[in-house]
Symmetry: C2
Subunit: 213 residues, 2 copies
């Protein structure tokens, strides 16, 4: 398999965690978002939409959308599972994952922040207020969800899809200065995850394209 | 089962389509988003995050996040399936669903539009430019995806999760005046879906809380 991604892309980070949790080897092809390489002719041959990440399977199919890639990996390489076995607990893990992927990340990603600054004319305080409203708000909603489900991780005592989405979200929130004081449970889970070997391997700083210094 | 929702909420619309495709009966409890009823004390007892929709199962569990609810329904009531059997085609259906649910809908929903107008100070032309960039952009990306997968519906000849996400998205895009001329395949699939009995049953106009006149 070959993963096209960018070290700091939250969606790429999710896929790297899933691959690492499953112990799957893959080639890594960096695509520099800051240089706009996702819109280069070469990359558009891989992903016609210019989306990151993309996973090329051993059969040569190219998959995009991080959550679809992770579902595919979980169905194709079932051990260890990324969702609990019980249908209700599966739903609990997914609702955390989707609360992050559909409500926090889309309103915080680079192209949205760039638009807010450059085209909507928001200053830094305006962008900060936006991130507080939507990203902090979504994270605090997830904090109330995990109150019912968490063990060592978001749902029970094993990492699931929920943690795969949580960790890149907290990483980004810290990077963008979002106040996480209202999410002590999530902070504790984040700390636990950052010590887990699969999450360490997947961390942005540990990728070949990470900016140094 | 009991569905808490709002006739025009796109996420509620998705769940109604899934329930109708599976032929499942349910009670419907309207929660008026325009009146802020999702933050009322009564509703916060149902969904502590004040999120719509919420599905109360026959066991009394309350599930939120439309995609998690739909996955739960598909696992608990498997017929007819909402995803193809083949892992690659399942991924294709999911990547369309997630492209809509994680890239189009979050940037178009009511609370975001309200913030853009009332707090970010965008005028109507500014909001239109925002919707064009993000919502039209995401829809046109999906248009290129279905070029490889569509039969009568987004993926093959049966409705899937992709169509469940597509139809409320096109409904919203039409409502907000997003130009869909660049998405002829999706327009054709939308027309086909709107004639399908399950999609008719789930349509906002056919809900008990639909505004009349």
């Amino acid at each position: 398999m070959k993963l096209y991604g960018y070290w700091r892309s939250g969606a790429t980070y999710r896929v790297r965690i899933a691959l690492a949790l499953k112990g799957l080897d893959y080639d890594y092809a960096p695509v520099n978002l800051l240089k706009g390489e996702q819109k280069s002719p070469d990359y558009l041959k891989v992903s016609p939409q210019g989306l990151l990440p993309a996973l090329m399977t051993d059969d040569g199919a190219t998959l995009v959308q991080s959550l679809a890639v992770i579902d595919y990996l979980d169905e194709t390489y079932p051990a260890p599972p990324l969702l609990p076995a019980d249908p209700l607990m599966r739903a609990r893990a997914r609702q955390i994952a989707y609360a992050i992927a559909c409500e926090a990340q889309p309103l915080q990603n680079l192209r949205v922040q760039k638009y807010l600054r450059e085209e909507a004319g928001l200053d830094e305080a305006g962008v900060k207020a936006w991130l507080d409203r939507f990203v902090k708000g979504a994270i605090e909603a997830v904090e109330t969800m995990v109150a019912e489900t968490a063990g060592d991780y978001c749902v029970g005592d094993q990492p699931t899809l929920a943690d795969i989405c949580l960790v890149p979200q907290i990483y980004a929130a810290l990077r963008f200065g979002v106040d996480l004081a209202g999410a002590p449970r999530l902070n504790a889970i984040y700390e636990r995850c950052t010590a887990h070997p699969a999450f360490v391997k997947a961390h942005p700083d540990n990728q070949p394209d990470a900016a140094r210094g």
